[in-house]
């Protein structure tokens, strides 16, 4: 069974602070995919990143960076120099091998609410 744990329910920071959102996953698949989505107050889930299990290279996109560590089953997300517009709920998600299910069946964590104050 697939499981995603986001232990941080809510994080509050002041603008320009760096913040890391934790994600721990469980899966028995050797091939799997990890995702981060952002859900602003409007409600729409916005795709941020997809990572497959064979690519442990860290990724940076502007102020966003992701640290994937298979040894600890973690896929953490860091926002550098946070801004008020980063305020949202962030979801980590996991999908098992496409070959097993025929599609990317996403299992989401419970989300971390990030509040960035001016």
């Amino acid at each position: 069974a697939q499981k995603v744990t986001q232990a941080q329910t809510e994080i509050s920071v002041v603008e320009k602070e760096d913040v890391t959102l934790d994600c721990v996953y469980e899966t028995r698949d050797t091939t799997y995919y990890l995702f981060w989505y952002k859900q602003p107050p409007s409600g729409e889930l916005v795709f941020l990143i997809r990572r497959n299990s064979f690519d442990e290279q860290n990724e940076i996109s502007g102020r966003y960076s992701w640290n994937f560590q298979k040894s600890t089953s973690s896929f953490n997300f860091t926002i550098t120099a946070s801004q008020v517009v980063d305020s949202a709920v962030y979801f980590c998600a996991l999908s098992g091998s496409f070959m097993n299910t025929g599609f990317q069946k996403l299992v989401f964590g419970t989300g971390t609410r990030l509040l960035v104050s001016p």
Binding site: L45, F98, G102, F103, Q104, L106, F108
Partner: protein
């Protein structure tokens, strides 16, 4: 181009009534998914369509829930005899192919009184 759209954005109904929720995927996307998000939770998978057929409906909670995609584009999620526990945000997503990234719509917020 246009993203995934869902109508209505909000729906209030009474217990026992029938409701239909509509999803218009991104043009050309072959795969379509429905998820349900309860308050304070992450989205939970309901059903997946490849083309016109429901390839995986393992997430539908019971037989009051049904979904169709008759022409392989627009999909309708149908809930019969609604219960208060059905209150949630229903999210639709689509992807170009089943193994590709899913893009979500804004959701329909359903409230059953």
């Amino acid at each position: 181009g246009a993203g995934v759209s869902q109508t209505p954005s909000n729906k209030v109904t009474e217990k026992g009534k029938y409701v239909e929720l509509r999803c218009d995927p991104i043009s050309g996307h072959t795969a379509l998914y429905w998820y349900r998000q309860s308050l304070g939770q992450g989205p939970e998978f309901l059903i997946y369509f490849q083309g016109t057929g429901a390839a995986d409906d393992s997430g539908l909670p019971n037989d009051r829930f049904f979904a169709v995609r008759p022409e392989g584009s627009v999909s309708t999620l149908k809930i019969q005899r609604t219960e208060r526990g059905d209150s949630a945000v229903y999210l639709c997503a689509s992807s170009l192919y089943p193994q590709e990234t899913q893009y979500f719509g804004p959701g329909t917020r359903l409230l059953v009184l």
